[in-house]
């Protein structure tokens, strides 16, 4: 049996006595698209924050590629090969699209810190080429000299994805990638993510929108009140009465 890329083992997290996660176990297989769904307040975001170094679990472990992520800071986790997309797209609004993509490419090549104060950025041909390639791939090349602040929300998401892809991550975390988007933008984003599926980057998607989940995921975990209540392939989850209860009936027993 191969080892899962991301292993979450018996993770607990409380906020001032309030149990946000209790005994969460989760395996994300390499190459899979793993969706984590659940009603509001189920602990999805808390779990994601435990993956990226924003929060440390009280007990339990998060292993990525066999190494623990607990206690690492966000930039260390990114350097280990985990890239993330935020719920509201987070990009460098004052910088050009090209700079937005060059920065993560530089971070991949130079590591978390390298004092490069003399050579021109323009002379870093490898990094520029990579950025250019990803911008072209995502249909942003024509506007690479525009500042990111002028983009529509859907295009900001597209740019954010470009920033992640240029790093060639082993794991891509998507936090509600279509939240707050118009129907058309949502569909375009799904299409884009499906196309990215061909690259076989392992993805974890946190999502509300069932359409998004069922059109992308190869495996689904359902979170309710801080625990995983069901896990399986999309067809199995669709028919699971516990899942329907969690979504429609509110409390689980």
């Amino acid at each position: 049996m191969t080892m899962a890329l991301l292993q979450v083992q018996a993770v607990n997290k409380s906020f001032r006595g309030l149990r946000a996660l209790s005994d969460v176990n989760l395996d994300v297989e390499e190459g899979s698209v793993h969706a984590i769904i659940g009603p509001n307040g189920a602990g999805k975001s808390t779990l994601l924050n435990c993956f990226v170094g924003r929060l440390a679990p009280d007990t339990g472990s998060v292993l990525f590629d066999g190494k623990s992520l607990v206690g690492l800071s966000p930039h260390q986790i990114n350097q280990a090969g985990v890239a993330r997309v935020f719920q509201t797209p987070e990009v460098f609004l004052d910088l050009t699209l090209e700079e937005n993509v060059i920065i993560p490419a530089l971070a991949r090549q130079d590591g978390p810190f390298r004092l490069n104060a003399w050579r021109r950025l323009g002379s870093r041909a490898a990094v520029r080429e990579k950025a250019q390639h990803v911008l072209e791939d995502l249909g942003l090349a024509a506007s690479r000299h525009r500042t990111a602040g002028t983009l529509s929300r859907g295009d900001k998401r597209r740019l954010e994805l470009a920033m992640c892809l240029v790093q060639e991550p082993k794991l891509l975390l998507l936090d509600e990638p279509t939240a707050g988007m118009s129907r058309a933008d949502t569909e375009r984003t799904i299409e884009l993510l499906q196309r990215l599926g061909e690259r076989r980057i392992t993805k974890v998607i946190i999502e509300h929108d069932m359409q998004v989940v069922f059109s992308l995921a190869s495996r689904i975990s359902v979170l309710a009140q801080g625990t995983v209540i069901a896990e399986g392939d999309p067809a199995a989850i669709k028919g699971d009465p516990r899942v329907q209860e969690a979504y429609l009936g509110g409390a689980v027993h």
Partner: protein
């Protein structure tokens, strides 16, 4: 914008800008004459505070971290330089090198602690550290700073290197660069050359990967951290570089006038460099120098105007009107030059938040649309300006 990336074309444009800057700075004694500012003491000040402001802008303009304590490094640079004069030699080069090292170490320590916080808390921390330095200079540290009397050179100073080379000096020697005294125009040209070097270094930093990372800190530090970049050492590098610029400026103040007083470190001096950067244009290469020149000009020229000057300026008016005009204008000159500065600052921040450089850019834009009026409409419809960009795959 694209200039940042075009490796060859961008470099050529930068060299032109540098050449233009050097020309403007070195010819200041000529073109400042009609403004009544062509005397070496003031020109030295323009160059020195230009260095201070350019360095401050590397921190504030690029990373957005607003330090309210940069005058501390200016003061430290001055003290270090004067001590080098007293103990080693009155040649300015070792003094400048020593000041750079000492202010750099100071900036490293203060920056390391202050950068644990951002926003207003960072500003308050830097202000607190600077005020601490200022008060220490007046109290506990008087053996080093000579307190209120200011640190000065004395006839009895050891000046080890000078004594060893040339024997003891009967007088207090003046500071020099291999025999060239740092007074008057030679002093100005020395400062001007260092200003040009400082400008060039700032330009290189701004175009480098470091500069891009610093801009990314200003734009979205959270995103940067999740992009695999450890933003703290980058911000610290910017802090130390700008501290070194301030130390260099402080050393030059001491080179042209070998005296170091604690008032140089007071918070008003820290505030002044913030004003210079904002007045000229935060984040631009030329802006901080322009701001420094404007403020030092107002401070030295406007404050020297008195009622007599005003009467001679407004002499063409009928007597009654003249008296009223002089009375009103009198509020803005002499002691009241701060009022002029304050009004200017307010107007600028309200109407031109990008400072003088934004004004220049807007004027340039107006001129260009005036020339290319028929093409303006076409340009507005160009595809790169359409709101959505992802549709055409």
């Amino acid at each position: 914008m694209s200039a940042r990336f075009e490796a060859t074309g961008g470099a050529r444009r930068d060299h032109l800008l540098l050449a233009g800057f050097a020309l403007v700075v070195l010819t200041m004694p000529l073109w400042m004459r009609p403004f009544g500012a062509a005397y070496p003491d003031l020109l030295q000040r323009f160059a020195i505070y230009g260095i201070f402001a350019i360095g401050f802008n590397i921190l504030f303009g690029l990373t957005g971290y607003l330090s309210f304590g940069h005058a501390a490094f200016l003061g430290v640079g001055s003290y270090a330089a004067v001590w080098a004069f007293k103990l080693v030699t009155v040649n300015v080069l070792p003094a400048i090198a020593f000041a750079i090292v000492v202010s750099g170490l100071f900036a490293l320590a203060i920056g390391y602690m202050s950068l644990r916080r951002s926003g207003i808390y960072f500003s308050i921390l830097t202000l607190a550290f600077a005020q601490m330095c200022y008060n220490l200079a007046y109290s506990v540290l008087t053996p080093i700073t000579n307190g209120e009397t200011s640190l000065q050179m004395a006839r009895t100073d050891p000046r080890i290197l000078d004594t060893w080379l040339f024997g003891p000096s009967p007088l207090i020697p003046s500071t020099h660069l291999f025999g060239m005294e740092m007074k008057g125009y030679p002093g100005f040209y020395f400062c001007a050359v260092l200003l040009i070097v400082a400008f060039y270094v700032a330009m290189r930093i701004s175009r480098s990967p470091l500069g891009t990372m610093l801009r990314a800190i200003k734009s979205n530090q959270n995103r940067l951290n999740y992009t695999g970049v450890n933003s703290r050492p980058y911000a610290l590098a910017a802090f130390v570089i700008s501290g070194v610029y301030a130390g260099l400026a402080g050393a030059l103040l001491a080179c042209t006038d070998p005296l170091a007083g604690a008032e140089r470190m007071q918070w008003t001096a820290s505030g002044e460099v913030v004003l210079m950067a904002i007045l000229g244009g935060v984040g631009t290469l030329l802006g901080p120098f322009v701001g420094a020149v404007i403020i030092k000009y107002l401070e030295n020229i406007f404050s020297a105007f008195n009622e007599q000057t005003l009467h001679s300026v407004f002499g063409f008016l009928p007597d009654g009107v003249e008296n009223v005009v002089v009375a009103v204008a009198g509020l803005f000159v002499g002691e009241g030059w701060h009022l002029t500065l304050g009004m200017m600052f307010m107007l600028l921040v309200i109407f031109l938040p990008g400072g003088v450089m934004e004004g220049a850019r807007r004027l340039g834009g107006l001129w260009r649309t005036g020339v290319a009026a028929p093409r303006a409409g076409v340009r507005r419809l160009a595809p790169s300006d359409s709101p959505s960009v992802g549709g055409g795959e």
